[in-house]
């Protein structure tokens, strides 16, 4: 996992609620056995007419040149539904390092963090403010300070991040490294459990 400290970037707005992981990456693209290449199928059915990559749907944000950046901003309850981690892989593979929303589904939040994608939970009001920004506006996210700023206006909110997860993100550690360091404790626990 790559370390993540700060992001300053333009953003792609997706002001819809309850975006489920079946939309983020439809099941028919889950046949791969590696973690790479899912980005090209991110939001596949919203992106292309009849699944035809030669026919992008021009009204979808990922197909509009005015939007770009490393931050995806989406409506409430992002990532609900299936636990497929492929959703987080697709988002990362496409080039997003943070997703901003006013509410995240549990499993998605975990999956994102485990892959170095930062879920940033903001208030409803702040989310609406971001959506009102021009397509050229930028956002700054500071992982250590746990803040997100709309650069044009200086408006800022802080977001929650579990201190353990924060350390992992800032340093690019992952949970498996941690668990492996605990093997003795786990073995001792097993003996007592039985």
């Amino acid at each position: 996992m790559k370390a993540l400290q700060k992001i300053q970037s333009r953003f792609v707005p997706l002001p819809m609620e309850n975006i489920d992981t079946d939309q983020i990456i439809p099941a028919r693209f889950l046949k791969a056995t590696t973690r790479d290449g899912f980005g090209q199928n991110l939001f596949r059915d919203w992106r292309y007419e009849q699944d035809d990559t030669a026919k992008p749907k021009t009204d979808f944000v990922l197909n509009q040149a005015i939007y770009s950046g490393e931050i995806l901003v989406a409506g409430k309850n992002f990532g609900c539904g299936s636990s497929r981690e492929h959703a987080a892989w697709a988002i990362l593979d496409y080039g997003f390092y943070a997703v901003v929303s006013s509410f995240f589904a549990d499993i998605f939040k975990n999956n994102a963090l485990n892959n170095g994608v930062l879920p940033v939970t903001v208030s409803d009001a702040f989310l609406q403010k971001i959506f009102q920004q021009a397509s050229t506006a930028t956002l700054s996210i500071d992982v250590d300070k746990q803040t997100i700023t709309i650069d044009a206006t200086g408006e800022q909110e802080s977001f929650e991040l579990n201190p353990y997860k924060k350390t992992c993100l800032l340093n690019g550690y992952d949970d498996i490294d941690f668990l492996l360091s605990r093997k003795d404790t786990i073995e001792k626990f097993e003996k007592e459990l039985i």
């Binding site: 489920d20 099941a27 056995t33 059915d45 589904a105 549990d106 999956n111 492996l180 786990i186």
Partner: protein
């Protein structure tokens, strides 16, 4: 203060609490399948590790398998590769696999309980959100992502933050024609698709106690559809009776000893939940969904809500967008609307009781000419039992297509897809855009409601059909 059922099991499985962080939670049983495991196997191999406790992992192939001609090689090359890789990985790492052709093969959440692998008091995980199903036995069971599958491979533990607890009490008798699928669709419609996010739910009350194990599984299965981490029900005599004699269930004195332990698994009288919801069972009607998340559901004889009665702007937009996708109009009823497909299957409703209910309703009848009906047993054992009871004959005579065990049209990963623009009444758990195939329009309902529509060709109130019978 007393302890909740959840707390009792959780506390027993915490290896270590990280300061200001999650807990290291020990996992008793780990189920894996072909779609969410290959990257995790690759991950531990890259780290030069073996599985830490291979005997506590059980594998099956279900999501991406064909449901016709399972004895032949898989035609789709990518699917074949994924299934072959599972066989290789299990072989290499010493994991028991109930793959294609094995008499125990089936949907992971159907086979776990049916084999007695799922037991009260356990912690159970699987790289699939409907792992919540196993909670019906009084276990802490939840879905995990592939990175977490890798964690369990490496250490038999996951890192988890303790969720809040919610109890949903359902009291009283159910109306005729109302089954457990209606109960859970009713609860989700009431509290919304995100209403239980951050919580682990315990279902309790006299209605729950009166339900069979299979009906309880249907309810726990869909906990995730309201955002919950998982759902659970305290074990009771019904649970123990279901389990006794199953392949993996303890035997002899071991059974007696376990029983003593399991009988202590309930929420204490004075246990406090972070949230409690009370539901009157008699108020529940047969349910159906009209939108593109499971929270957009209503009583089958109701009208689709008017968007201007919805105050929250986001929800209103959501409804409008959903109805557009579904090709439905606000304010209108669904009763009498023609449908083109019926899918009876999935880890929500593909067990033997579901099949029996459907068979009892369609016996001696024929499906409507304009409807295609697919019935997919949850496991080889369910299929075998259905055959033994002659249910397959009833289905064949009714013109239903009986397929072989797998997830099938629940997620449309194999060729079992619903064509774009057509309506499908489905006993599965998700009505998301494109879930059953690009452009497919899913109406979630109980097996009874699905069977009724198969016969009439239109959305039907099962109670009217039952009255006719009398």
């Amino acid at each position: 203060m007393g302890k909740t059922l959840f707390d009792k099991i959780w506390d027993q499985h915490v290896v270590e609490k990280i300061e200001n962080g999650p807990s290291v939670l020990y996992i008793d049983k780990h189920f894996i399948h072909e779609v969410t495991s290959p990257q995790a196997f690759k991950g531990i191999e890259q780290r030069g590790l073996n599985l830490f406790r291979p005997k506590q992992t059980i594998a099956t192939a279900d999501h991406n398998v064909p449901t016709l001609n399972q004895h032949l090689p898989i035609k789709d090359e990518l699917s074949k590769m994924q299934v072959d890789q599972l066989i290789d990985n299990c072989d290499k790492h010493g994991v028991e696999l109930y793959g294609l052709g094995h008499p125990y093969q089936g949907i992971v959440h159907v086979i776990g309980p049916e084999l007695g692998i799922t037991q009260p008091g356990m912690t159970i995980v699987c790289g699939d959100s409907h792992t919540s199903t196993h909670g019906a036995f009084g276990a802490i069971a939840f879905g995990i992502g592939t990175s977490e599958v890798e964690m369990v491979f490496a250490s038999q533990c996951v890192l988890q933050t303790k969720p809040k607890t919610m109890r949903i009490n359902i009291e009283g008798e159910l109306q005729p024609g109302v089954v457990s699928k209606d109960i859970i669709l009713y609860i989700i419609a009431k509290i919304s698709a995100s209403g239980a996010t951050g919580y682990f739910v315990e279902y309790a009350g006299s209605t729950i106690r009166s339900l069979s194990m299979e009906a309880r599984m249907t309810i726990c299965n869909m906990s995730i559809e309201m955002g919950a981490r998982g759902g659970m029900i305290a074990p009771d005599e019904q649970t123990f009776a279901y389990m006794q004699g199953r392949a993996y269930a303890p035997k002899g004195t071991q059974w007696d000893n376990q029983l003593e332990v399991w009988k202590k698994l309930y929420s204490d009288n004075n246990a406090v939940f972070d949230k409690e919801i009370n539901i009157d069972a008699w108020a529940i009607q047969p349910m159906i969904t009209y939108g593109t998340n499971p929270g957009l559901g209503m009583a089958i004889n109701a009208n689709i809500p008017l968007s201007d009665t919805i105050l929250d702007e986001g929800e209103r937009k959501n409804l409008i967008k959903a109805l557009q996708y579904m090709g439905l109009e606000e304010g209108k009823p669904l009763i009498g609307m023609p449908i083109q497909h019926v899918f009876i299957g999935s880890c929500t409703n593909s067990r033997i009781e579901d099949l029996r209910q459907v068979a009892a309703l369609v016996k001696g009848k024929k499906k409507h000419d304009s409807v295609k009906v697919m019935i997919v047993p949850g496991s080889q054992q369910v299929a075998k039992q259905a055959h033994a009871e002659g249910l397959d004959h009833i289905f064949a005579e009714a013109g239903f297509q009986i397929r072989q065990a797998g997830c099938s049209a629940c997620l449309g990963m194999n060729e079992d897809k619903i064509p774009a623009g057509t309506y499908c009444i489905s006993t599965s758990n998700r009505n998301f855009e494109g879930r059953q195939g690009a452009g497919a329009r899913t109406l979630l309902a109980s097996p009874l409601t699905a069977a009724a529509a198969a016969i009439t060709g239109v959305v039907t109130d099962i109670r009217e059909m039952m009255n006719e019978k009398l």
